[in-house]
Amino acid sequence: MGDGSNLLVIMALLPFVGALVPGWMIRAGRNACATFTAIPTILALVMLGLLAPDVMAGEVIQAEFSWLPQLGLSASFFLDGLGLLFAGMILGVGLLIILYARFYLSGEDPMGQFYTYLLLFQGAMLGIVLSDNILLLLVFWELTSLSSFLLIGYWKHLPEGRQGARMALAVTGAGGLAMIGGMLILGNIVGSYNLTDILASGDLIQSSDWYVPALVLILLGAFTKSAQFPFHFWLPHAMAAPTPVSAYLHSATMVKAGVFLMARMWPALAGTEIWFYIVASVGLITMVLGAVIALFKDDLKALLAFSTVSHLGLLTMLLGFGTPAAAVAAVFHIINHLTFKAALFMTAGIVDHEAHTRDIKRLGGLARLMPITATIGTIAALSMAGIPLFNGFLSKEMMLEEASHTYWFENPWIVPALATLGALFSVAYSLRFIFHTFGGPVRDDYPHKPHDPPFGMYAAPALLAVLVVLIGLMPFLAEPLVTVAASAVAGEALHPHLKIWHGVTPALFMSLAAIGGGIVFLLIHRPLDRVWLAAPRPEAKAIFEWIVEKLAALSRWITEISHNGAISRYVAIFTVASVALGFAAYSGGGVGPETRAMLPIPPLVGVGWFALVCGVGAVVVFHRTRFRALVVLSIIGLMISAGFVYLSAPDLALTQISVETVTIMLLLLALHFIPKETPKESSGLLRARDGVIAAVAGLGTGALAYTFMLRDVDTISGFHLDNSYEGGGGSNVVNVILVDFRGYDTYGEIIVLGIAGLIIYALMTALLNGPAGRKLRNTDFTRDLSRDRHPLMMVVATRVMMPIAVMVGIYIFLRGHNYPGGGFVAGLVIAIALLMQYMASGFAWTQMRQRIQYHAMIGFGVVIAGLTGAGAWLAGKPFLTSAYGYIHRPPIEEFEWATALFFDLGVFLTVLGAVMLMLYSLSRIARYAGQQVNLEPMDYDPADRVKKREGSE
């Protein structure tokens, strides 16, 4: 890459870098801000100037950086004639706008923000015209949508601004997304996203099956951006933006992006029938429609906006014609439209700024009050009208010429006639702009007395007006630029000659007809206006907003109906989906033959099964009477534990039965605070539905289990059986799996418990400190059927049983590695023993005698388990590697130790701590709820009676 490439890249990025400036410089004042904002633009212009000679000489300057090669996205830029033209416009007008905005924006407007957005937009726009990679182009394309959103919504307090911004974003955004699709298809056809490659593959593209979808999607992008029918409606509403924005985005640059894109893709996409019929037709319709509407707009900016729509239609139509001459006309008109339309917007802005209104009906006679402005405006408007000697005339003549020999479905009249009609309306609204604003007598009812603005404000439009005249008189000045640009569009070298007089051509007559007709229309504007106002016509904004609102309402309806907070339904859907998809999956395969005979069913097992089924049925039937449901729940736990015993799973039985008990305790504690009954509220239909879902789910799981139980597979557990004793030092294989082979699972499992303890404690704290705390204090939860809280008999029995239970706990803990048991069950046994103590003597009394904090116990447990596991690192072994050995030292004949025991100790402590912390938290809530606290271990010790009697005697 040469110097030119570097310069090109720097130029492309300058506005983005520059966007950082205003936000920072605004602290130095508004003048400094504007000045420093201009600098990046000026620099970029200078660079463009440096590059221009090479481009004018026919060279294409390229630069490429890798960005996301996996996608085919690279940061590639190139500068050819078309790019040069547009870059020049973007930067040149940009500079003028910066100048103009400095004077236009009032003191309350955040100028830093404005310039930041403006430069962001400038960068995005520049990016579009310089991209040599269509994905990169898409990036910049979407960026223009975003930055224009910010600019249109700049006056955020104005509803029109917000709505206009959203509408512009929605419409251009939609087009942009369609274009993404189109570009991706296009890239796929060509096999490259590089624009240069794509432009060279026109034939390949146009012969592809995917040509039409790609074309349509890309055109959607272009049409929305360039406000082509039927997407034209957003543009006038974007006029809510400050006038500099309208002048810059909505006349000079952004709306031309669509036109640019069509011009850019011309070699690749244009020239086919479908291209002609879509593009030219849409352009033609837009041109006429825009012009007609413009005539009846009273707001100066709206008038100009629809005029812009019309002119964009004109450009689109020209590009749609697909001939080199039309390309030349289009390029030339792009330049001319830029000059007069930007000048007109700025003029309108000045009028608004001075007179405090843009309503034509409230204006008139300004020529005398602000002659400079009037002069500028008149020159520009005459150009817009296509009056000879101004530049607009030249390109319009070329357009009419092209239209005059264009056939539309073999009809030679339609296109020229409509083109003339468009030109006619164009003359009419242009003249209306001049005469109804500046002409006529001076009025005395302006909202504000207008004067010509300071030089800074009219300098920019004045300069443009000068250009209008210059090009109008000496079109050859523009010829080199038009030549390179048009050649770039056409993809071949063109040699156009721009001149004022073309001789007596059909175009001349069409032009004359337009001017004459235009004058007539202006004269009869008043009655026409009445007819227009009386005629029913769709209000695009209203329709758009109606559609968006309806879509939003529909979305809201669907969303809220489906996500209505009914977890029951969510779970029902989840269940049905699981069963259905599971079944679908199953039916796609098959199962092998049964490989195992069924085990016999002893009668006792049948009894247990019956009790279990009854238990489940009873829980379901009794579930409204909550306590009763809890009682029958115990049957199920008991039967399952018995089943585990019978089916060779003693460890499971131990765990199941102890967990079951603690769970019941928790549920009982919970039931204390919540309603004791469940109201009957689901309808019969709902219950039936749930019944069916439940039955299907039950059948599914049952059948699944039945299927796999009769089929053997080879499992990895043979290894565990083989290595448990020698490798893990224990003969209870289940325990060795838990603390060794899969000790890591157990580590996770105790952490779950520890977290559960923490959450419950945290929740309790949050509850007591929140509104629930207040409520608790005012609610009496006590059932208080009985007046004895801590009966003597229970206390005494517990005193004896406590130590025994602790002993059992120790025993279960120590033997776990070799026999059923282990840290988890031991922890629960001790917890249950403590629970017994709490039930006997009450929480307060017991807690007072409790020396170890449960928090600490959980912490120690988790840390001990973790450190035991990490201890293996000392031996260079992985986490949780165990060691074991035997101590032979009389009188203890053989004492076996294993590091797994320490791990199990961690398990034990965590379990105990977590369970007790849960109980503690629940009990704390109860105490908060106004419960009395006991200071004695039992309600009344009869021995006290004796002591008292003795004392009194």
Binding site: S648, T678, A694, T701, V752, A756
Partner: protein, 118 residues
Amino acid sequence: MELVVASAIGVLTAGGVYLVLRLRAFPVILGLSLLSYAVNVFIFASGQLAVNLPPILDKYGDASYTDPLPQALVLTAIVISFGMTAVLVMIAIGAFLDSGTDKVNISREDRDVEDPVK
């Protein structure tokens, strides 16, 4: 025997699902407990069912044993579901105390109307 276990799993699942679909927190908790029984037995059954072959190694004999791995998995699952149930129970209490209702479904009115604590 397999039929007994499979049907027990089915019944437990059905009961559990039915209760989980109820509208109040308490039956939902009961339902989840039943489901947790069901799934524990289900995993347990994924090994071979065997009578009187507990995986406690006999140091001196060469006995055969049932598959110990599913048992270990079930143990882990039991403990985890205990922790989960405990948290769920506590949150149910919290939700009830905070909002005055133990409905599990949150209706539009619940979301829109901010009734202060009574």
